[in-house]
Subunit: 330 residues, 2 copies
């Protein structure tokens, strides 16, 4: 065990205390596990709430702030937050204009956000929901019916967050979120397993010298295992898998994402290969984001998410954002 923790039981609470200490722009309810923009509810603005199991940081807490999420609810590591958290978050951010729940497609998250929506609606809050299910690797998985939600969550939260910040009504914010999800696809690759605090060891068995193509962000099985491949070969496999499903007709936003333990030096080399494949497939790239954004604790590996972006989505991408993990223009 080589973890920087106190005890496994307090990992999430400890992290939330750190978020509170480091980010005075956020209000952190450590006990109830809700991270909220300090200025919430923002008058005349639709609220955006997301959440999910911890272990994918900076998703979601690192995306709370102006131009992105109004609140995030972290669950235990790789475990859905509970409906009470989500309903509490909705109440904290609703200005009367309604709240959009951004839900990654995992069975626990889906059920709990459904229950939270009922709780919030009982309190008179209008709720819309968008399901993120961008991972083309497999249909149905360990915790999912249908496709898993992964890297596109960042695009949904940024772009829907930007249109909400502009003052769009709930129906429009929901429509943008849905458009972004439908315009996005992802594919991930593991070069190592990840270690959960509770288990203290690898969560699955991936022998050195092998990789898993199509991995999920909790280490759920992908399409196949192979002997180690080069960065160029991995980019070929991942980008073709995404493009064959997406067939973009407009320039794309590209997220070249690290799973947590892969050095930035390697991720940038991989970004070069992703761009090469996109050039070969004649897909123009409008913007590229490289880094560890939708992670799986200390897993080594990477994922590629592409989002087909019209002029309106590009404008929303460039709009100001001020969160711990994504910040520009302000």
């Amino acid at each position: 065990m080589r973890m920087l923790i106190n005890v496994p039981e307090s990992v999430v609470s400890d992290a939330l205390r750190g978020v509170a200490a480091a980010h005075p722009d956020l209000t952190v309810d450590v006990e109830n596990r809700v991270v909220v923009r300090r200025d919430a509810p923002v008058a005349d603005k639709v609220g955006l709430v997301s959440g999910g199991g911890s272990g994918h940081e900076p998703l979601h807490g690192g995306f709370v702030g102006l131009g992105m999420l109004d609140a995030a609810c972290p669950g235990e590591v790789f475990t859905s937050p509970v409906p009470d958290q989500m309903a509490r978050a909705a109440a904290a951010v609703d200005s009367g204009n309604g709240v959009l729940f951004v839900v990654k497609n995992y069975t626990g998250d889906v059920l709990n956000f459904d229950m939270a929506a009922e709780l919030a609606e009982d309190e008179g809050i209008r709720i819309a929901k968008v399901l993120v299910n961008d991972d083309v690797a497999v249909t149905d998985s360990l915790y999912t019916a249908g496709r898993r939600g992964t890297g596109a969550t960042l695009f949904v939260e940024k772009l829907a967050g930007a249109v909400a910040q502009e003052g769009a009504p709930l129906e429009r914010v929901e429509a943008v979120a849905r458009q972004v999800n439908e315009s996005s696809r992802s594919f991930g690759v593991a070069l190592s397993a990840c270690t959960t605090p509770a288990k203290g060891g690898p969560t699955f068995d991936l022998p050195p010298g092998e990789l898993e193509l199509g991995i999920g962000i909790h280490g759920e099985p992908g399409r196949e295992r192979r002997p180690m491949m080069t960065s160029a070969e991995i980019a070929d496999f991942a980008v073709h898998a995404v493009l064959d499903d997406l067939n973009p007709t407009a320039p794309v936003l590209a997220l070249v994402n690290g799973m947590g333990a892969t050095p930035l030096l390697e991720l940038y080399g991989f970004a070069a290969e992703v761009h090469r494949v996109l050039r070969e497939r004649r897909v123009p790239v409008a913007r590229t984001l490289v880094g560890n954004y939708v992670t799986s604790l200390d897993m080594a590996g990477c994922s590629v998410t592409l989002c087909q972006a019209d002029e309106d989505l590009l404008r929303l991408w460039d709009a100001p954002v001020r969160t711990p993990a994504l910040r520009w223009g302000i």
Copy 2:
């Protein structure tokens, strides 16, 4: 080997191709290994140039842009760049107002920046240099006479970069850089070794269940090895080591830095403990930055850097910056 690379020989060039693809604000000379602000030389502005071995990303290439560095020169992994690179960078960014070299205190970097300064001065470029030597762990180390340069490099590059962006003359930019270095101290801890592409395996031996207190960013030996400690105990040790040397009399900027493979979830928990120790020692914290900024490839672990900041340095910290890894206000 679980690396996302093509061949070890091309790791740095591959990464530079990725930086070029992802960041249109930067001009990347892949062959000569120089990363430059696209708008360089900026009229009437002192140029800031840094560089060092690769493997510490986002340092330094991720800090090139408005309000921070004008250029960076990456060497091979854990190997100093050569004088030609540095002189080329100086020529690319000099507007006639001179250039400051920010040099981490490693013997190779120091010698090569000295030679580069001579080369640049021969071309009529005024050069000033500041040596960063903030690591309190040990005096003299594997590649260093005196103290090593680590996390304070980020503060030097940000704060001197901000005053340069304001149009300050070379003497003032150099003075700020020197003040920041003298006001900063760091201490690092390894929970695992790191793996260089050339070696393909751990660069030193750190058995599971042990940690190394006072590690260098290339895995150079620190003060001592101990059985695994909690996050709270590590924060106690690291922050006390820094404060006993720094004795701050003003609020501090705090960098809670990951070595590369430690999940953000754990780093934020560690940030909470760092804040606790600072509270106990009655040291006010003005700003906190949490993340992987001065890394050591895939090493698990963390470091703490504190910089005593007067009002002027705080203003420079908050000034706009627009680089791949640090960006706000613009």
